[in-house]
C-alpha cells in the first residue's frame, strides 16, 4: 500500500465531523511526517508505525469528543442537567448515589423498556409471593393447638384388602392407650349428628362423641366451665356436654354460667359443663370424616371395650410422649398391631396395621402436592420473568455499547462500569420487588378468598417474616440472574471497535446469549404451559367422568331419627317411609329417596365386613366396606343404573327376607362370574340398637357410583333396605321441577309437620357437593391457567424484544440486501426464521424438561398421562405461533428498511 493510501485509510477511522473539519490539515501533517522520515532507515515502516500509533491514541478521543458534543447538545436541548453522564469516575463505590440516580433517569428515559422489565419482574415476584404466602399459611404455619408438632393421628390399614386410612376401633384405641412409652395422651372422636330441641324448635346439630381426654390431648381448655373428666359417662346422671362458643352465644345469649344451663339432646336434658374457646376448630384431614366446626361434644356413651373390634369409627389423636419420635412411634404402633391380631383373631386376615403420622402433615396431605406444584410453577415463572429482563437488559446494554466504550475511553474503570450496570439492575429489581410484594399481597389475599374448602383450613394468610424473606430471596436470586446478563455484553466492550460501530456492540457472544435466552424462555414457557394444559385436560376428564348417578337438579337435606326419641326400629322405618311419601306428594316433585348417607358425604364414617357366603373366616375382613341403608326411592332419585335384578320396594321390610343390592365392583370381586343376583352375602344390619352381621340375598346389581370422590372409583358398596336396617341418620334427595329455594322452603315446613321433633338440616343442592369435590381441582386449574397465560405473555414479550433487537442490529444488512435486489419475502423469511429456529430449539429442549417436571404432577392428574402426546404437540405448536406473532413486528420493520437512508 502506498503511503498516501495508508494515510487515507487511517483518516477514515476518524469520525466524519473530524474528517470534515481537519481532514486536509491532517493530511498535511501526515505528509510532513512522511517527508521527514523519508530517507531514514525503515523510513516507510516508521512512517506507518507513527500514523497507526497516532491513530490508536487519538481515534477514541475523537469519537469521545463527538459524542460529548452530541450529549451536550441534547442536554441543552432538553435543558436538563446530566449528573454523572460522561464524568470521569473516581475509584471506589463513592459514585453509587449518582449511579443510581443516573440509572433511574436512564430507565425512565426508556418507558417501554422500564414497563416491560419492571412489569415482568413484578409479575414474577408478585406471583411467587402470593403462592408462597398461601404455602406458608397452609404448610408451614403450625396448627393452633398446644405444642402442635407432637400431635399425631393414627390410621388403620388392612393391607390384604387394599384398604388404608380407616378409623380405629374402640378396643384398638384401648390397646394403643395401654402401650407404654408411646403417647403422653391419646384420645378419639367420632362425628355424627344429633337432634336438639331448643325453645320448642327441633334442630339437627353436628356432634362429636369423644373420649374424655380428647381435649386435653389437643391442649384446648374450655373458655367457661370445665372439660370432661375420666368416667364422665359412667356417672348415674346423664353425661354433660361441651358446646362451641358459637352454639353458646346463639342459643344462650343471656347466660353467663354454663353450669346453670342444660341442652335438650335426644329427649333428655344434659347439663352443659363447659364452653369451648371462640373459633375452635378441628383441623383434621378433609377426608377424615370430622367436620371443622362441631356444635356440641359428648363423651362416648359406651365402654370402648364393649363394641366389636372390627367396628372402625374412631379418629385417634395422640400426643407423643417425651423423647418419642415418629420412627419409634411407628415401631410402637406396629407392635400394638401384632397384639391386636393375636387378641382379635377375626382381624388377623386383614393384616391389620397402624400408621402414625403428624396431624398437621396429614391435614394438609391433599393440599401439599397441589401447593408444591404451584410453587414449582411460579418458580419457573420467576425464572422466565428473570430471563425476560435479562434479555431486555442485554439488548439495552448492547445498544449502549458506545456509551460504555466512551466511558471506558474517558477513563472509567471496568469496575466503575460494572457498578453502573449493576446500579441499573438494582433499580429494576428494587422497583420490581416492591411492586411485586404489593401485587403479591393483594393476590395472596385474593387467592385465599377464592380457595376452596379442603385446600386448607387455616383462616389467615399472614404476611409474616417468612413471606418477606421469601420475597427478598426471590428478588435477590432473580436480580442476580438477570443482573449478570449485561456483564456478558460488557465483557466485549472494545473501545475502538465499539466506537466505530453504528449500532453498538453486537459480537457473537451477545448473539449467542440472546439466542440462549430465547431458547430458555421457550423451554420454560413450554413446561409451564404443558403442566397447566395437563391439569386442564385432567379437570375436563374429571368433569365429564361418569359418576354413576345424576347429581344435577337434586336437592338434599338431612334428618336425625335420634334413638332416644324414636327408640324402636319400626318407628324409624315408618317415619322414613312417611316422610318419603309426604315429600313425593309435594307439587313439582318427580322423585324422592333417602339413604343413611348420600354420595360424596360422610364416606366411611365407619366400615364393616360384608363377605359373600362361604368366605373362609380368615378372609372375611378383606371384604371390608361401606354399608348404606336406603329407601326404595334412593336408586331412582339418583338415577343409578340397574345392571341386573331389581331395586328395593316397600315390600322389603323388617318382616320379609333380608335382601341387599351390590355394585359391580363388589359383584366382580365377590363373584368372579359376576352372576351376583340370588347369591347370599353377610352384611351388617342395624337392628335393635346395634350392628348385627346378617345373611342377606343379593337381589340387584347396579353400576358403580363414585361415592367418595369424582376421581376415585368404587371399591365395593353394599346397599340395604332402610326398613331392614333403620339407622338414625337419614339424608333425603329430592328431584323436582320447582325452583330449589322454593322447594327448600316447602321442605322446611313439611318435615316438622310430619313429626314435631324432626327438622330438615343441611339443605343443599346436590351439585354443590360435586362442586365442592371438584373445587380444589378447579382452583388449581384456575391458577395454573392464569400462570400459563402470564407465562405466554412474558415469553412473547421476551421473544419479541430479542428478535426486534436482533433486527435493529441487522437493519443495515437488510437495507443493503434490499438495495442489492433481495425481495421482501427473503427478508421476512430471515427475521421469522431467526425467531422460529430458536423457538424450535427451545421446544426441543423444553419437551424433555416438561415431561420430567410434569411427572411431579402425576398425583394431581386424572385419566391423563404426563407425557400426553396431544398436549405436548398442541402446546409446542401454540408456542411456535406465539414466536411467529412476536416476530411479525420486527419483520415488518426489517422490510421497511430504507436502503438509501440506512446506508448513508
Amino acid at each position: 500500500m502506498s503511503p498516501r493510501g495508508l494515510a487515507r485509510l487511517v483518516l477514515r477511522c476518524y469520525p466524519a465531523s473530524f474528517r470534515q473539519e481537519f481532514g486536509d490539515e491532517w493530511c498535511e501533517v501526515a505528509a510532513w511526517h512522511r517527508r521527514t522520515l523519508r530517507g531514514t532507515t525503515f523510513g516507510r515502516l516508521r512512517y506507518a508505525g507513527a500514523l497507526l500509533r497516532d491513530a490508536a491514541r487519538s481515534v477514541p478521543g475523537a469519537y469521545a469528543s463527538v459524542i460529548a458534543e452530541r450529549m451536550e447538545r441534547r442536554r441543552r436541548a432538553s435543558a436538563r442537567p446530566v449528573t454523572s453522564g460522561g464524568r470521569r469516575g473516581r475509584p471506589g463505590w463513592d459514585g453509587i448515589g449518582s449511579d443510581i440516580h443516573y440509572a433511574v433517569r436512564g430507565v425512565l428515559r426508556n418507558p417501554l423498556f422500564a414497563i416491560a422489565a419492571v412489569g415482568s419482574l413484578a409479575m414474577g415476584i408478585g406471583a411467587s409471593t402470593a403462592i408462597f404466602s398461601v404455602v406458608n399459611a397452609v404448610l408451614l404455619e403450625p396448627l393452633p393447638y398446644q405444642d402442635p408438632g407432637r400431635l399425631t393421628i393414627v390410621w388403620n390399614e388392612f393391607p390384604t384388602a387394599g384398604l388404608a386410612r380407616l378409623p380405629v376401633s374402640g378396643p384398638e384405641l384401648q390397646m394403643l392407650r395401654d402401650e407404654p412409652g408411646l403417647f403422653a395422651d391419646v384420645g378419639g372422636i367420632w362425628a355424627t349428628s344429633r337432634a336438639v330441641m331448643h325453645d320448642g324448635q327441633p334442630e339437627t346439630v353436628s356432634a362429636g362423641l369423644v373420649t374424655p381426654d380428647f381435649f386435653s390431648v389437643l391442649g384446648v381448655e374450655p373458655r367457661l366451665g370445665r372439660g370432661f373428666v375420666r368416667g364422665e359417662s359412667d356417672a348415674p346422671v346423664p353425661a354433660g356436654v361441651l358446646v362451641s362458643d358459637e352454639f353458646w352465644r346463639s342459643h344462650y345469649p343471656d347466660a353467663t354460667d354454663p353450669s346453670d344451663q342444660v341442652v335438650r339432646l335426644e329427649a333428655s336434658d344434659r347439663p352443659i359443663v363447659g364452653v369451648l374457646p371462640p373459633g375452635f376448630e378441628l383441623l383434621f384431614p378433609p377426608d377424615g370424616g370430622i367436620p371443622e366446626r362441631i356444635d356440641l361434644f359428648t363423651p362416648l356413651p359406651w365402654n370402648l371395650y364393649v363394641l366389636p373390634p372390627d367396628q372402625h369409627y374412631l379418629r385417634v389423636v395422640g400426643r407423643l410422649a417425651d423423647g418419642v419420635d415418629l420412627v419409634s412411634a411407628q415401631q410402637h404402633v406396629t407392635a400394638v398391631a401384632v397384639r391386636v391380631r393375636e387378641t382379635y383373631t377375626q382381624l388377623a386376615a386383614t393384616g391389620d396395621q397402624f400408621t402414625v403420622v403428624p396431624l398437621h402433615g396429614d391435614a394438609v396431605r391433599n393440599a401439599r402436592p397441589t401447593l408444591l406444584a404451584l410453587l414449582g410453577a411460579v418458580t419457573l415463572f420467576l425464572l422466565l420473568a428473570s430471563a425476560n429482563v435479562a434479555g431486555l437488559l442485554l439488548a439495552r446494554t448492547t445498544t449502549r455499547g458506545r456509551e460504555l466504550a466512551l466511558r471506558a475511553s474517558l477513563g472509567a474503570s471496568r469496575r466503575r462500569i460494572v457498578q453502573l450496570l449493576l446500579a441499573e439492575s438494582s433499580v429494576l429489581t428494587g422497583v420490581g420487588a416492591l411492586l411485586g410484594l404489593v401485587l403479591g399481597t393483594f393476590a395472596g389475599d385474593l387467592l385465599w378468598s377464592l380457595r376452596p374448602e379442603g385446600v386448607a383450613r387455616i383462616d389467615v394468610v399472614p404476611l409474616d417474616g417468612r413471606v418477606l424473606l421469601f420475597t427478598l430471596a426471590a428478588s435477590v436470586v432473580s436480580g442476580t440472574l438477570f443482573g449478570l446478563a449485561p456483564l456478558v455484553a460488557l465483557s466485549s466492550v472494545r473501545t475502538a471497535t465499539s466506537l466505530n460501530e453504528r449500532q453498538g456492540i453486537g459480537g457473537p457472544r451477545q448473539h449467542r446469549a440472546r439466542g440462549l435466552i430465547i431458547v430458555m424462555e421457550v423451554a420454560v414457557g413450554l413446561t409451564i404451559l404443558v403442566g397447566a394444559t395437563l391439569l386442564m385436560r385432567s379437570l375436563s376428564r374429571l368433569e365429564g367422568a361418569d359418576l354413576g348417578y345424576q347429581p344435577a337438579g337434586l336437592l338434599s337435606f338431612k334428618v336425625s331419627l335420634a334413638e332416644q326419641r324414636f327408640p324402636t326400629d319400626g318407628e324409624r322405618a315408618t317415619l322414613a317411609q312417611e316422610l318419603e311419601r309426604r315429600i313425593a306428594e309435594l307439587p313439582g316433585v318427580t322423585s324422592v329417596g333417602a339413604g343413611s348417607h348420600l354420595p360424596l358425604k360422610t364416606w366411611a364414617n365407619w366400615a364393616e365386613p360384608a363377605p359373600p357366603d362361604g368366605t373362609p373366616e380368615s378372609e372375611r375382613e378383606t371384604f371390608y366396606l361401606d354399608h348404606r341403608a336406603v329407601t326404595p326411592g334412593y336408586l331412582d332419585v339418583l338415577q343409578a343404573r340397574l345392571v341386573s335384578g331389581r331395586g328395593f320396594t316397600v315390600h322389603d321390610h323388617a318382616g320379609s327376607d333380608p335382601v341387599a343390592i351390590v355394585d359391580r365392583a363388589y359383584a366382580s370381586r365377590a363373584f368372579a362370574d359376576s352372576q351376583a343376583v340370588g347369591k347370599r352375602i353377610q352384611a351388617s344390619q342395624y337392628v335393635g340398637g346395634s350392628f348385627t352381621p346378617t345373611p342377606v340375598t343379593v337381589v340387584g346389581v347396579i353400576d358403580d357410583i363414585r361415592d367418595r370422590s369424582p376421581s376415585v372409583p368404587s371399591s365395593g358398596q353394599v346397599y340395604l333396605p332402610f326398613a331392614q336396617s333403620p339407622r338414625w341418620e337419614l339424608t333425603y334427595a329430592v328431584r323436582s321441577e320447582r325452583d330449589p329455594s322454593e322447594l327448600a322452603a316447602a321442605l322446611h315446613d313439611l318435615v316438622p309437620a310430619v313429626h314435631g321433633d324432626l327438622a330438615a338440616a343441611e339443605v343443599m343442592v346436590m351439585d354443590e357437593l360435586v362442586d365442592a369435590a371438584l373445587a380444589s381441582s378447579r382452583f388449581v386449574v384456575l391458577l395454573a391457567g392464569l400462570f400459563s397465560l402470564l407465562a405466554l405473555v412474558v415469553a412473547g414479550i421476551g421473544i419479541y424484544s430479542l428478535v426486534a433487537y436482533n433486527t435493529t442490529q441487522r437493519i443495515r444488512d437488510f437495507g443493503l440486501r434490499l438495495a442489492l435486489g433481495a425481495t421482501q419475502r427473503n427478508i421476512v423469511r430471515t427475521v421469522l426464521g431467526y425467531g422460529l429456529k430458536l423457538s424450535l430449539v427451545g421446544v426441543v429442549v423444553g419437551i424433555p424438561l416438561a415431561i420430567g417436571v410434569t411427572q411431579l404432577l402425576r398425583s394431581l392428574l386424572f385419566d391423563v398421562q404426563p407425557h400426553d402426546p396431544l398436549t405436548l404437540t398442541a402446546v409446542a405448536a401454540g408456542l411456535m405461533v406465539v414466536a411467529v406473532l412476536a416476530s411479525i413486528g420486527p419483520a415488518r420493520r426489517a422490510i421497511s428498511a430504507d436502503p438509501a437512508r440506512i446506508m448513508r
Binding site: V10, Y14, F18, E21, F22, D24, E25, W26, C27, E28, V29, A30, W32, H33, T36, A50, L51, R53, D54, A55, R57, S58, V59, G61, A62, S65
Partner: protein, 120 residues
Amino acid sequence: MAPTDNSTTKPLAGTIFYILLALADRDEYGLGIVEEVARRTAGEVRLGPGTLYNAIKRMLADGLMEETAGPANPGDGDPRRRYYRITPEGRQRLAGEAERLERLVLAARSKKVLPVRGRS
C-alpha cells in the same frame, strides 16, 4: 503576570504544553505547530496528526487558544490554512505549567539530581 495558584491548576498534558509553547510568541497553523515543536525538541517530539487535531479541538473548546485570521501576509502559505492564537487563559495555564516545571527542576537541583548552575 499574576502568579498562578498552583494548588488549583492541574498539570497540563505534554501535548498541550508543547502546542501552547509553540504559540507563545506567534500565531501558527497546524503543520507550523508540529514543525515548531519538532524544532524546539530537536526532533524528539513529533506530534502525530490525530493527536494534534484532537488536542487543538479540545483546547479550542477549553478556551486555551482561538482561531485567528492568520499572518498579515496572506501570500505566505495556503489560504485554507487555519491559524491559532494563544488566549490569555492559555497563556496563564502555560505560565503556570512552566513555573511548576521550574520548581520541579529546582527541586531536582537541590537534591543534586542536576548540577547547580549559575552564581557559584
